[in-house]
Symmetry: C2
Subunit: 618 residues, 2 copies
């Protein structure tokens, strides 16, 4: 089945130049990676740019007007303000990592910056050194011209159809009405970043946490340049064009034999920023492989109890467009019929299994890791995971809920469908990095995956095995194998986080009945326990088919109870009251995101704003 969505995309090309006092150009930045192996170059390969950042041409003053903002987080900008470094009217330069790049740009824009440069710092992407043989193609680390491309749009889906489906004839906003970034933004590699950063003066980096890995560099904050560059100006020119493309979702189904109107879904996107060998190819492989496995089973006479849905999304990299628009079109049906959605974006980008998702799926995926051979030396993936967490001094495997950043977002945060994001990622015991180093660059090549990430493709194989078993488990089990008790327990952890970060007292001050929320969660824990016990005591064979379906229906709707129809405050597309990304970092999961976002910066508000905010919290 083919589906057509029109997209709103912005493409950009850049030039960052440094001009000396006499008007001579002393530096022009690179717009693509230096080829290091045969095949690294491709005439069609996309130049480095940030999606949706507008075309623009901005310049610093002579000798001043550039500010280093660390990772561009709220706390980084707050620190600068505290230090008296004013970003307003300047070009902000931030390193990639920690949070979603769209948040970095939004924060810079909100603080009045007129442009932004994003760079990959060796401290994050070349932790074993920047010499030729420390990086690609010899290791998985990033060479100096590697540039992370990527979108900066803060919403999900086609920006011209927020909240409704971008079908061929849909009504579309004009570009002016779309909620897109307002200042130009450009990614560069660390070789080019050095040229700029080494000329910066002003205050020194306030502490080690502000210092990146560029050797011999002070990471001064600016906005002044060093005295010897007092005549220099920095120019940021991005040459964007607005273009509309048609993108396709490819949806395949294997119809369920007993309950064709119940869906177990798996999805991955096809579009890439860099050469895309891990992202999205390693995930796409899972769709193909699980479909192949199921096809083989069918040849042997098997048919799934419930319908399997294989989704290949278009335009994920421009803001989860394919999946969001499809969900917006089919939201009622999906909410009514979906048992779970399994996402396999970048399945193989490191050796460690990571499966953030709905607590309703935690026990099932844990059980399945015990059935799958390890991808390294362990007998099973489960054993490998246990060893990994033991090495971190943790007594058990840690399961987490979802942040945003891939196609499960509309399923989870808009619909409340239990989702799991299945991938193998970096080993945190070895490297504390945000994402694999070649992510979204021209060095994310097949050679990189084959030699440095997944030699022998054992991670790919492990992924497919986990995905196939998970799909079958949920498609075939008469009683849907949700871990009901995990849900309220995890909600309790979300609410307990307010105790830990001291916000609980603040909440009680704002609303005297706050403790009732905690009490309700305790009751929910008890109720889930009783319900699960009752199920365990039932003899499955004796439940009649309609009663069985009634029980499944009730469980399928459990997480959807937490969907707020009109969305979280100011975020109509994020409707999940207990598990959703933080407003200040779209990549990060947050418990009770509505409340924690409303608490943000409460103390800095004036009396009237504060009163308004407190009302929303209540």
């Amino acid at each position: 089945m083919l589906r057509c969505n029109k997209l709103g995309l912005i493409l950009a090309m850049l030039q960052i130049t440094l001009v000396d006092g006499s008007g001579g150009v002393v530096f022009t930045s690179n717009y693509k990676e230096k080829p290091l192996r045969d095949g690294d170059d491709d005439p069609d390969f996309v130049h480095a740019f940030n999606g949706y950042a507008p075309a623009g041409s901005v310049s610093s003053e002579a000798g001043r007007g550039v500010v280093y903002v660390n990772y561009g987080r709220v706390e980084d900008f707050d620190k600068l303000e505290e230090l008296g470094v004013n970003v307003s009217g300047c070009i902000a330069i931030a390193r990639y990592g920690k949070i979603f790049r769209g948040n970095k740009l939004l924060h810079a824009q909100e603080r009045g910056a007129k442009g932004m440069i994003l760079f990959s710092d060796p401290g994050d992407v070349a932790q074993e050194g920047v010499a030729d043989d420390d990086v690609y193609p010899y290791t998985w680390w990033l060479p100096g011209t590697g540039m992370q491309r990527g979108t900066t749009y803060m919403g999900s889906g086609d920006p011209l159809t927020p909240g409704w489906s971008s079908t061929a004839n849909a009504y579309r906003l004009t570009m002016e009405d779309a909620d897109l970034p307002k200042i130009p933004c450009q990614p560069i590699g660390y070789d080019d970043a050095r040229v700029i950063l080494e000329k910066m003066g002003g205050m020194a980096a306030p502490d080690e946490a502000w210092k990146g890995g560029l050797d011999g560099l002070a990471y001064n904050l600016g906005p002044e340049l060093l005295d010897e560059y007092s005549g220099y100006t920095l120019h940021l020119d991005t040459h964007n064009t607005f273009q509309q493309y048609t993108s396709y979702n490819v949806i395949g189904t294997i119809k369920g034999e007993v309950e064709p109107d119940r869906y177990v879904l798996i999805g991955n996107h096809r579009d890439a920023w860099g050469f895309g060998a891990s992202d999205p190819s390693s995930g796409t492989a899972q769709i193909l492989e699980t479909a192949r496995v199921m096809g083989q089973l069918m040849a042997d006479g098997w048919r799934p109890r419930r319908t399997l849905v294989f989704c290949s999304w278009g335009a994920e990299e421009y803001g989860l467009i394919g999946s969001t628009e499809w969900v917006e079109e089919h939201v009622e049906k999906l909410q009514e019929r979906s048992v779970m959605y399994l996402n396999t974006d970048t399945c193989a980008s490191g050796p460690i299994l990571h499966v953030p998702g709905s607590p309703l799926l935690w026990d099932a995926i844990t059980d399945i890791t015990k059935m799958v051979p390890g991808v390294r030396q362990g007998p099973t993936v489960y054993d490998e995971l246990k060893d990994y967490y033991t090495a971190m001094n943790k007594t058990s495997i840690e399961m987490t809920t979802l942040g945003s950043g891939s196609d499960y977002a509309p399923f989870s945060f808009y619909c409340g469908i239990p989702c799991l994001d299945l991938w193998f990622r970096r080993d945190k015991n070895k490297n504390e990095i945000s994402i694999y180093p070649s992510y979204h660059t021209g060095y994310e090549t097949f050679y990189m995956v084959d030699h440095n990430v997944d030699p022998g493709f054992r991670i790919h194989q492990g992924c497919s095995r986990l995905a196939s078993l998970m799909l079958r488990f949920f498609a075939d089990s008469a009683l849907i194998p949700y871990s009901l008790e995990q849900l309220p327990k995890t909600i309790k952890e979300g609410i307990d986080s307010f105790k830990k970060n001291g916000k609980r007292d603040e909440l009680i001050k704002i609303y005297e009945n706050y403790a009732l929320l905690e009490e309700s969660i305790d009751s929910f824990i008890d109720a889930a326990k009783t319900f699960s016990q009752d199920l365990k005591n039932k003899e499955m064979g004796k439940i009649d088919p309609v009663m069985l379906r009634a029980i499944n229906d009730q469980m399928m709707k459990l997480e959807q109870v937490f969907i707020l129809p009109a969305g979280l405050p100011g975020r109509p597309q994020t409707r999940h009251a207990v598990f959703a990304p933080s407003q200040f970092d779209s990549y990060a999961a947050s418990g009770f995101p509505g409340i924690s976002d409303l608490l943000h910066n409460l103390d800095t508000l004036d009396a009237e704003e504060r009163q308004q905010r407190e009302k929303q919290i209540k």
Copy 2:
């Protein structure tokens, strides 16, 4: 099962006085009806007032400042503006009828009136004369001191918990933040109205449609009084107090044998404004009688396939509080599990069956009228209905969708659950009136019902028979007996109304793709037809139980597809995109209410407002 809701209520007492030039009080209005029979009086009987209208004391100037606004509709106020009669700063006096009183008060408030008086006009409530033997207790017509009480709140539910359930510990708005009327309002009878209206000067009533039935009265518009009363002032004093009460919903269930998690509901409220003999007693009788019938069947061994839910609502008269708060608390479960909701508010207030509701229920209720003996001379209720419409020169029985005004509102307009409002009402062939004359007055007595409305209680009996059969039909049919094809046909009629009223051209001008909406509805008609045909061709006995349930599930969700999660523009509690009350008369049904409300007064907007409105329409 008892459920507790705290309510926000406002009670008022009034005094309307006319003071002559020398300061002497020449008239004080009545605050309760004159007893005409033994038992008409009761020391506890509530004084006449309008719920939620604030306490206030406002006066006209000497000799001017009172405007007669006919029924207080948008078009009435527009007419006054056209005639140059300015309501601003005046006391508006309107007759009851045509639209919901809350809209009258809101319109007056929006036009700047400082107070409002509502009166029952003999043209509406005493069409056969005002002599003693033309009215109660000799006929069903209203005597001169009969006053229609009633709420003026424009929202639904507890005004202090808009959008969430008013449970014991719920967060509540302060009174200042609640969206309540801002100007005082008071109902009076036509005897008192005459005293005021006869003194009014200014322009004469523009046409017959502005003239009520008070004999010899010109129905002058004001704002001047006649010259001989140039020294007179009119004072409106309402003495309201804000009080919180606890109200209860009483919910009884008979658990379904096969599908306990599918609900067929019947509901009626208990609270009354007047003596309440028709409203709500005649409807409450239906709950009791259907429950009794079902109980008798159970004694004979019967059990319903699906669960029957009997709902006795509290605080309907203060804005559908009991039902709204209950629905807000259980919305997910109700949307997931409800097959239909049958409302029986004022079941017996006249001889003619009237069953506005979801088109999905039209064929079923029509079939059932053929099984129930007539309540007058006809062999069946169906025959009586046919005769009634034949006398109106109509070739078939007319079915309509729902306006607001009773407890089905949250089920239908918030949840999209198919609802039917079952009642017998006035004979339009005899009298063109908005509601039975004693509605919400002190003359709505048992004697009135027993002698003038339903002698022999045959209407009550007909009501119970229809309700019981309807409940059993939906509780026991293996395949839910929805009339699927009626839904898209009726939607088409809604969209065709834009052709009839000339708005279609306007819509095409605003949005060039408007015709696609019409095309989709045509496709929907075809799809419903195909689906229904497929069902008819199936051998029911051969469908396995899970497939049967899947088919029912799909049909149950059909109307909910039209629920907009965030509600209609500016109306978060009204979420039904195709069937909902008009924003300008809460009693009236409207097809595509979102669109028609947005088209309202489009031409009077300035360019920017108009652009904004057109965007919303798109």
